[in-house]
């Protein structure tokens, strides 16, 4: 008996594809793989290194020290009541999370080509796992921040934590979505146009300078009003400014800035998913 009612089929492999076609059920089925990837990424990064996980601390620590020396001591950037080092450590850690999310996911298709060309699993698991494993690193780096925070607090620095800190996790999610979205767009296009690989490498560097990482947002408005729009149109600038406000009570949170950031992030995230979806099906022919 071969009755063929259409609804019997478990799934269909076809050339046609809806614009957004995310099978959440399937992604949920592969949740274990997500965790395994996260575990792999976290464990293996610093294997066979002497300092091991200490590297998680060393990177933000030394970047923050350098920034403090150059931008605050030499270039005299004012950080308000907050100690410059703490200001920079907060910015660097937050920026670092975005940066690693973006650069890691933008390489998804190329670095996983070997696996992707052999086995099927929902491709989005790969960038998701990267964002998650970087979250673990970010968490560890925030521990370092807390240590210095307590130190400066005990030294009598004027630090205030408000109730806005409760929204910090949301900010992190926003950042992850932005990094993931952008990364997915780039990763999809890198499969065809390799130029983007070079663009990402130095583009991220430049992006840092217009993301209000080493200066307060207000400062650029005051000193360079003509090109301040460059920073003001950059959603990352608001995220970092808001993060500093939540963590240190320094700077401002503008409603317009946050709404703008949320809208841009959601748009980029969905565009990223659409493009990623389109690419994952046939990228193996072009990579």
């Amino acid at each position: 008996m071969s009755t063929e009612s259409k609804d019997q089929w478990l799934y269909t492999i076809s050339s046609k594809r809806k614009l957004i076609n995310i099978n959440f059920k399937e992604i949920w089925q592969y949740r274990d793989l997500l965790l395994l990837f996260v575990k792999r990424d976290v464990i293996t990064v610093y294997k066979q290194t002497i300092l091991g996980p200490l590297w998680y601390f060393i990177q933000p620590l030394f970047t923050a020290i350098t920034f403090t020396l150059i931008f605050n001591k030499v270039a005299n950037i004012e950080t308000g009541a907050v100690p410059p080092f703490l200001f920079n450590l907060a910015s660097v850690s937050v920026w670092g999370y975005f940066r690693t999310c973006l650069t890691a996911t933008s390489d998804t298709f190329k670095s996983n080509a070997a696996i992707f060309s052999k086995v099927y699993f929902p491709r989005i698991i790969s960038p998701l796992s990267l964002v998650t494993s970087n979250l673990v690193k970010f968490g560890i780096q925030m521990l370092l921040f807390i240590c210095f925070y307590i130190y400066y607090y005990s030294q009598g620095a004027s630090l205030s934590i408000g109730s806005s800190l409760l929204f910090f996790p949301l900010l992190v999610v926003l950042m992850a979505m932005l990094g993931l979205g952008l990364g997915m767009i780039i990763s999809s296009m890198v499969t065809k146009y390799r130029d983007l690989k070079f663009l990402v490498a130095f583009g991220v560097q430049l992006l840092m300078y217009i993301s209000a990482v080493m200066y307060p947002l207000a400062l650029i408005r005051e000193k360079l009003p003509k090109i301040a729009w460059l920073v003001e149109y950059n959603p990352m600038a608001y995220i970092i400014e808001s993060a500093r406000y939540m963590l240190l009570g320094e700077g401002t949170i503008s409603t317009f800035g946050l709404v703008y950031t949320v809208v841009v992030t959601i748009v980029i995230f969905f565009v990223g998913i659409i493009i990623f979806n389109k690419t994952e099906k046939t990228f193996i022919d072009t990579v």
Binding site: Y11, A114, K118
Partner: protein
């Protein structure tokens, strides 16, 4: 009648030759613009049939074209075809690694593939950690892997090293571990590409045994791609043959194998390779009157003329080996065994077989050239021999047996 578990309709896959992508941003935009208006892709209309050896007129090629087939539950379907016939493309589409250009495949079960074992092994992780990682990639949940962990480790035979990073493993051990993980997958439909040629002899035996268990004992639906006719013959219940991206045969296994061999193994008796510097240039089959022959009769006297090239005047030993369609060795004629070598710079060696001994059917032959035991040239499946019924004993009686050898004998 068992139910249909997988159904492929009009599967086609187009590739562009040469550079990847449509080549220019302009073509990409054009494609996108057509797609946006719901029109047919302008680049899909062109495209040649996928024949490797002829230069086509178009930049696009159909690696697969209008493939239709159905797979029933519990069936072991073999897929064979020449290199480049589209087997791997079909498997890639089935395992959802890449999408078809047109057409669709509907399935009622989970498909998992053993396209290549050991995908995603991370060298820094231990064997045990890699079992979990690899299992996860192949679609198992943690709980599933945990329940089979000890079986997998035992099957791999790597108990001792299971907590050592995989980078310290020998390549053989890595393959064993990888195969072990894959062998314990439990999808509804299993897609197997030739993975059997891995590991040492002991492990190969184990692997083949496991394959047979999977396909026979456990009643799993299997799609099996191989060049090994013997394996196809023993494992499969139905056969698909792909030729230049088209489905050229579907049905019974043993008929299919013969069909495949007669069309695929170069399809002809004689051999030519005029560019060689040391080795065989041509092989020509002649009868006792020096006429060319197309097929051989049982008991016929044949001469095989082998034209060789030997620039450095080495001591060439020429050998022809004969096999049946299932790659079973039949016999070989090696010249140095009977103390004959060829050392002139060029010449013709003639192998004479007084009475062709193999019974009717299809055979093929391999050729090999040695210099003092060192192999210089080795060509597999050089040509195909069609043997027809013949009068071996010269008395007008045609013996009926279809398998095996004829020999001269005496009763007294």
């Amino acid at each position: 009648m068992s139910e249909i578990i997988l159904k492929a309709t009009n599967i086609s896959k187009q590739y562009r030759l040469g550079l990847i992508g449509t080549g220019t941003v302009k073509n990409d935009l054009k494609r996108w613009w057509y797609g946006l208006r719901g029109k047919e892709d302008p680049f899909l209309k062109v495209g040649d049939v996928n024949d490797r050896s002829t230069a086509g007129s178009s930049d696009y090629v159909w690696a697969l074209k209008d493939i239709n087939f159905e797979v029933k539950h519990g069936e072991v379907l073999g897929i064979i075809g020449k290199n480049g016939a589209g087997k791997s493309t079909l498997l890639k589409i089935l395992s959802r690694v890449t999408g078809p250009t047109t057409g669709e495949i509907k399935t009622k079960g989970r498909i998992a593939s053993l396209l290549e074992v050991g995908t995603g092994f991370h060298p820094e992780l231990t064997g045990r950690e890699n079992i979990y990682l690899n299992g996860g990639i192949l679609g198992m949940t943690k709980a599933e892997i945990r329940s089979k962990e000890s079986e997998i480790i035992e099957f791999s035979g790597c108990e001792r090293y299971v907590d050592t990073p995989v980078k310290r493993y020998s390549s053989g051990m890595r393959v064993r571990l990888a195969f072990a993980v894959a062998a314990f997958l439990e999808p509804d439909i299993l897609v197997i590409d030739e993975v059997l040629a891995v590991g040492d002899a002991e492990f190969q035996k184990k692997a083949v045994g496991k394959m047979q268990d999977i396909s026979k004992g456990e009643g799993r639906t299997v799609l099996f791609v191989s060049h090994d006719m013997a394996a196809i013959q023993t494992l499969c219940s139905r056969l698909l043959i792909l030729e230049n991206g088209l489905l050229s045969y579907e049905g019974d296994v043993s008929k299919g194998v013969e069909h495949y061999l007669s069309s695929v193994k170069s399809g002809q008796l004689n051999y030519q390779n005029l560019n060689c510097t040391t080795g065989i240039k041509t092989i020509t089959f002649l009868d006792d009157k020096d006429d060319h022959i197309e097929s051989i009769l049982v008991g016929q006297k044949i001469k095989i003329q082998v034209e060789y090239q030997n620039e450095n005047s080495r001591d060439l030993s020429i050998s022809l080996g004969f096999f049946d369609v299932f790659s079973n060795f039949k016999f070989a004629c090696r010249s140095d065994i009977i103390d004959k070598t060829y050392n002139s710079q060029t010449g013709v060696a003639t192998l004479t077989i007084d009475k062709w001994p193999l019974s009717e059917g299809i055979y093929y032959y391999n050729l090999a050239v040695h210099d003092k035991g060192v192999m210089i040239e080795n060509v597999k499946e050089v040509g195909i021999l069609n043997t027809e019924r013949g009068d071996f004993y010269g008395n007008g009686k045609l013996p009926g047996h279809k398998k095996g050898f004829y020999i001269d004998y005496n009763w007294s």
